[in-house]
Subunit: 332 residues, 2 copies
Amino acid sequence: MKKLINGVDDVVTEALVGIAAAHPELRIDLANRIVYRGDAPKAGKVGLISGGGSGHEPLHGGFVGRGMLDAACAGAVFTSPTPDQMLEATKNVDAGAGVLHIVKNYTGDIMNFEMAAEMAAAESGATVETVVVDDDVAVQDSLYTAGRRGVGLTVLLEKITGAAAEAGRDLAATADVAKKVNAGGRSMGMALTSCVVPAAGKPTFDLPADEMEIGIGIHGEPGRRRVPLAPAREIAAMLVEPILADLDFTGGPVIAMLNGMGGSPLLELYLMYGEVKAILDKAGVTVARSLVGNYITSLDMAGCSVTLLKADADLLSLWDAPVSTPGLRWGV
Amino acid sequence: MKKLINGVDDVVTEALVGIAAAHPELRIDLANRIVYRGDAPKAGKVGLISGGGSGHEPLHGGFVGRGMLDAACAGAVFTSPTPDQMLEATKNVDAGAGVLHIVKNYTGDIMNFEMAAEMAAAESGATVETVVVDDDVAVQDSLYTAGRRGVGLTVLLEKITGAAAEAGRDLAATADVAKKVNAGGRSMGMALTSCVVPAAGKPTFDLPADEMEIGIGIHGEPGRRRVPLAPAREIAAMLVEPILADLDFTGGPVIAMLNGMGGSPLLELYLMYGEVKAILDKAGVTVARSLVGNYITSLDMAGCSVTLLKADADLLSLWDAPVSTPGLRWGV
C-alpha cells in the first residue's frame, strides 16, 4: 500500500488537522471529528448537517461554509459516523430554526442519523428533519444499502439546499427543496480500478487489467456488471443510458456533473464530459449548468460517475447563489 | 493501461472538447489547441499567455479566465506546444498593451515560446515580455531542463501576475511582479507511483512497491533519490527542508501550496498539509495563505509537492484579488 499517511488509525483525524490548518475560516472539533462553518450557529437560519464515512473528500467536510453545510461529521474511512457525533453537531448548529440532516442511503448512516435526531429532540428539543439521498440507478439493495444508494447527487443537493437555508427559507421549505432535488436527480458510476482502504492495506476488490466495473458503488460495492475495457465514448453511453431510462430529463434544464472517483486525471474527466454532453445533446437533454472534477470520491479509485438533475428556475437560481466552501466556491 | 480515453492520439483535443462543453465562458480554438477567456483581448490590458505539455491539468487551460490567464496553449501530453500555437495566441490576446509569456523552464518550451515571441514581433509588432519559472529545488539540469525545473510555483505566479494585469498594470510592471514571484518561490515534489502516458501505455519509470522518489519532476524525471516508503511526517520533512535550505522564508508572510500529483486522494493531501504546516510553524515560517489540492499534476501519478512563496503586502493583495477560472475561483 502506497499512501501519504502516518498510522492507518490516525488518517481521518490527521486529515482534519490539515483541513483546520488550511481553512481557518472553519472550526474543527477534532475530538468529535466535526467540521463546522466558523460562524455557526447562524441566528434564524436552518442548520444543515451531513456526514458519512471518510474517503469521499471533498464530500462532506469540504462542503462546509456559507451557502452550503453548517457542519459535517466524519466517520472512519467508509464507515458511518456515530449518533453521538450527529447529536453534538445538531445541538451546535441549531439556532432555533431547526436542523436538516442530509443522509446518503446506507443502512448504517440512516440508523445513526435517526438515533441522533431522536436524542437531539429529547435532549434539547431541537426540531430535526431528514432527507435521504438515493440517486444511484445502478442497483437496488446493495452491500450496505436497502433500496438505491446515495451517491453523486449528494453534492448537488448539499449546494442547492444550502442556498435555500442561506436565503432564509424555513425548515419545511428547505426540506422540500432537498426532496425535490432527490426526486429529480439520478447517478451512475464506473471503476477502472479498486480503491485501497488504509486499514485493509489491499484493494477492496480484484479487477483484472482488461476489465472495468459498470455501476460501481462509492465504497467499491459491486455494480451491474463487469465488462472489457472500452473507449470513453462507450463508457459514457453505459453511464448515461441507464440514467435516461430511469427518468425523463427532456423538456427542461438539467444540471450535469461528471465526477471523478479520485484516481482519474482531470484530463480524462473533461474528455469524458465531452462524450457525456454529446450523448445528452443527441437525446434532447438541455444542460444548463455543469460541474467536472473530483467531488465525491472513493479514495484512489480510478473511474467516474455521471449525475443529472432536473432543475427548474428555482433550483437553478439556488445553484447559482454564492457558495464559499473548500470544495465549491463562487460568487463570493 | 486503464484510462478514460478513446484513441491515444485524440486525448488532448477531446479533452478540450469537454472543456468547451463545460465552460461556455471560455473560447476554445480546437484546431490550434488554445483555450481563451471569452472576452479576450481585453482593451488596455496586458495579455497573459502560458502553455506547455498537457497532462498537468488544471494547469494551464484550467487557469484561463478573469484575473488569471488570457490564453493557454496545450501541447501533446508532456510535450511543448509549437511556436505557431503561441504565435496565434499572442496575436489574439494582444490589445496593444503587450503580452507576457509565462514559461516553465523546460528546454522545448523555452525555445518554442522564444520563437513565437520573435515571430509575433515581426508579424504584428507585438511587444512580448517573457518570464521563466524555475522553482524546483530538487535538481539542477534535469532530463528536459537546463537549470532548475519549473513546477508548482507556476500556479501561484499565474494567479498573482494575472491579478496585476487585471488591475491595469503595464507590461513592465506586470513582468516585474512575475519576476518577484519567481525569485521568492521554491518547490519540491515526490512520487509514490509513476504516471502512465497514454501514447506509451506503460509506466514512465519503475518504482518498487516499497520505494518512493523524492524530488520527482512533473514528467516523471528523476529526483534526488529513491528511498523506502516512510510516514507522511517524514515525507513532509523531506520536501520542506530542502526548500528552507534553499531560501530563507522567515521574517514575512508566505503563501503555501500542497499540491497533489493527480492520483493521491484529497484525504491524504490534507493530511500532508497538516504535516507541512507543523514543520513550517516550528521553523518560524508564517503561512498567510494556503492552497491544498490538485493544481499542477502529472496525469495519474500518486504523490505531492510543496511550494512556498514569500509574499509581501502587494503580492498578498494580488493573491486575494478576484479570480474566475475553472481551476481557481474566488471573489466573483
